[in-house]
Symmetry: C2
Subunit: 375 residues, 2 copies
DNA sequence: AAGAAATATCATGGAGAGCATCATTATTCG
DNA sequence: CGAATAATGATGCTCTCCATGATATTTCTT
């Protein structure tokens, strides 16, 4: 009804300041009150007030004092990352990966269940359940302890967590993943396309940590993209952003074929090219040309600060990155920094964790906090 | 030093609420205190307090009471759009257009000076001066009265307001537009590429008013694009977003040639096609095919809610829009709504006004308000 | 025309949040 | 052991918002 024009109550101010304190404490080492005050811009007195409240509510804990230094030693406080847990799941063609993480995003336990692309829907969902269950058990949790879950999957995902279209896994189209995962972990479940999550992960923990605008390229058996714009994951109106591969002239459809034509297994081609095999080198060259065409379209459209290459082929950085840079140079007005992902196979699942954490943080900010004094 | 984690002082809360009140009043008709209170979510008492302060500072004025209705008639308040002025300038190849607008963005006076693409740098800058001067004079203002200026120009613009590269106007490359305009209007000067500004205008006053993600296509003698993502103009890392035309396979480079090959003047081709000329119709078809290729790349990359066509050719909507829709359908996963701009030649200059107003609003929000009681 | 009803404005007091200031406390240094 | 240093705790002030009730101004009803 009222368009929520911001502003509001005094308690809102306290919420904002409490969140600022949490942000100051999160991730980093334990801090003294004076340090927190300096970082948040609050006065020392107010900081003390806020921290006391957060302490009471269980968001913050006292950490051991550090010796040394003159004067009365300060109490140190840290974010209680262990106050809550989130679940991250990556559903791929060949493996299901699940992790439990704390509120800092530190992985507490992880599980991995191999699957095959040919598996049917039911079988695959069972594998998801197994991975998640193993992971929760390993961390000593039940589903109810999970504050939010993030799920990454191939294919287009709608806003409600249903898979709308998956080319790689035909049986997968139409699965209501959110509903399925919610049966195990009753909290909010956020489902997202895997390329998008990998992009998110790179901006959080990967090589794009300080980039506000970034294009992530999934280079592997499938080719895809994820976009981070202005520090936020860009989904698009129907969650179909980054699907530049659908345009034939941009080459992503045929890109992978160059490699499989040269050899049975894609990975082998890179090895052969590295070893000096002429035919393999030519195949890689053709692959990179096609990959770069679509990438250039994205770069020209968005002018990002950085392009990050992930996916299975990112292991072959040595034969990929330089040719790719050259090809981008050929088409782009300003060639952005090109870097290889260092997250390996963990990118998607980390992005899923980040997605879940974003949801938690948003709810904290709105005051709809699930936490009521855990002490 | 401190990373500004938000939150802060009590006065900040007041600022937020004052801004909410201003937003509630802006644009719309005059409101009573109770109505403002309802819209902002504040209590009536606080609203009264805030409005009194804004009244004193000159942001708000009392409007005539409306008769009718039972009970004591309420005082009505309105946003004092006349409290400040902004200047908007559109520097095109064939015309310079300048407008003075109030804080609501209502155009108070406008001026138009014809130029030619062949004109040299000095001559063109003189024309800019003339347009701006005429406009200011017509509105009875001096440059010092202008709170901020927005300038739109062809070519790439750097962050400081210098033209970095203009293909259409070779002499234009390297001009420091911000510095030049500042000599006349000493306030902040924001310079931006014209396609981007046209996009901004469409989201503000045009057909994309309710779209958060939008792609604007400049279809005319030049072909270009402007992107609005998440309600904000997307500039890119080096202000070079939307330059998808640089990729030859996407056809924007050759798009216009189909038309000029068919006839001397581009406008005539559309007329001829409309009249049933086979050759002209074929030329238009080829043009639309090329235009749609680049547009599809943008749509697939971003998945916007809407595509808006502007520029000179948008007058020929009847022969353009349906074929374009069909072509987009051919390539896109989800074809967005396609609409023609209704702003005509005013798009860029309106976008320039919006740019200036954004700057003003940002400064208001930060409390660095230039206004100190104008009563 | 007088009272009732409706609606707006004005005034008072209270609660929450933040801040400045100063006394107190716990350390280390000399 | 005293001086210097730095954190903590307590007090009182101001600012902002809000609830409540008194007062003012208008229309409607009888």
């Amino acid at each position: 009804m009222a368009g929520e024009l911001s502003g509001g109550d005094l308690s809102r101010l306290r919420q904002l300041n409490a969140l600022a304190v949490i942000k100051a404490l999160q991730g980093g080492p334990s801090l003294t009150l004076t340090e927190v005050a300096k970082r948040t811009g609050l006065s020392r007195a107010s900081t003390e007030d806020v921290v006391r409240e957060l302490l009471h509510k269980g968001w913050v804990a006292e950490a051991g004092a550090t010796a040394g230094g003159v004067g009365r030693p300060a109490r140190r406080y840290r974010f209680r990352a262990e106050a809550g847990r989130v679940l991250g799941i990556d559903i791929g063609g060949h493996k299901i990966r699940a992790v439990v993480a704390d509120l800092d995003g530190a992985v507490l336990h992880s599980a991995r269940v191999p699957v095959t692309p040919e598996m049917g829907r039911v079988e695959r969902l069972e594998a998801v359940d197994r991975a998640a269950a193993e992971c929760l058990e390993g961390a000593g949790l039940s589903g109810g302890d999970v504050w939010a879950s993030g799920v990454g999957t191939t294919g287009l995902v709608d806003g409600a967590g249903r898979v709308m279209l998956s080319e790689a896994l035909p049986e997968w189209t139409g699965v209501d993943l959110a509903a399925h995962v919610r049966r195990m972990a009753p909290g909010p479940v956020l489902v997202e396309n895997d390329s998008k999550l990998a992009a998110l992960a790179e901006c959080w923990r990967g090589v794009a940590r300080y980039a506000k605008d970034m294009v992530f390229l999934l280079a592997g058996l499938r080719t895809g993209a994820g976009l981070v714009i202005d520090g936020k994951l860009h989904r698009g109106f129907a969650n179909a952003s980054g699907e530049i591969g659908a345009l034939p002239v941009l080459g992503w459809i045929r890109a992978q074929e160059h490699l499989s034509a040269a050899s049975g297994e894609a990975g082998d081609v890179f090895a052969a090219a590295r070893a000096g095999d002429k035919a393999a080198a030519a195949a890689v060259r053709r692959y990179v040309k096609d990959l770069a065409l679509g990438a250039s379209a994205l770069v020209l459209a968005l002018d990002p600060q950085m392009v990050v290459i992930g996916g299975g082929f990112s292991r072959s950085a040595d034969v990929l990155i330089e040719p790719l840079r050259r090809e981008l140079d050929r088409w782009c007005i300003r060639t952005p920094e090109v870097r290889m992902s260092a997250l390996g196979g963990e990118g998607v699942v980390l992005g899923a964790v980040r997605l879940a954490l974003d949801d938690v943080e948003e709810r904290v900010l709105d005051g709809r906090t699930p936490l009521v004094s855990h002490l």
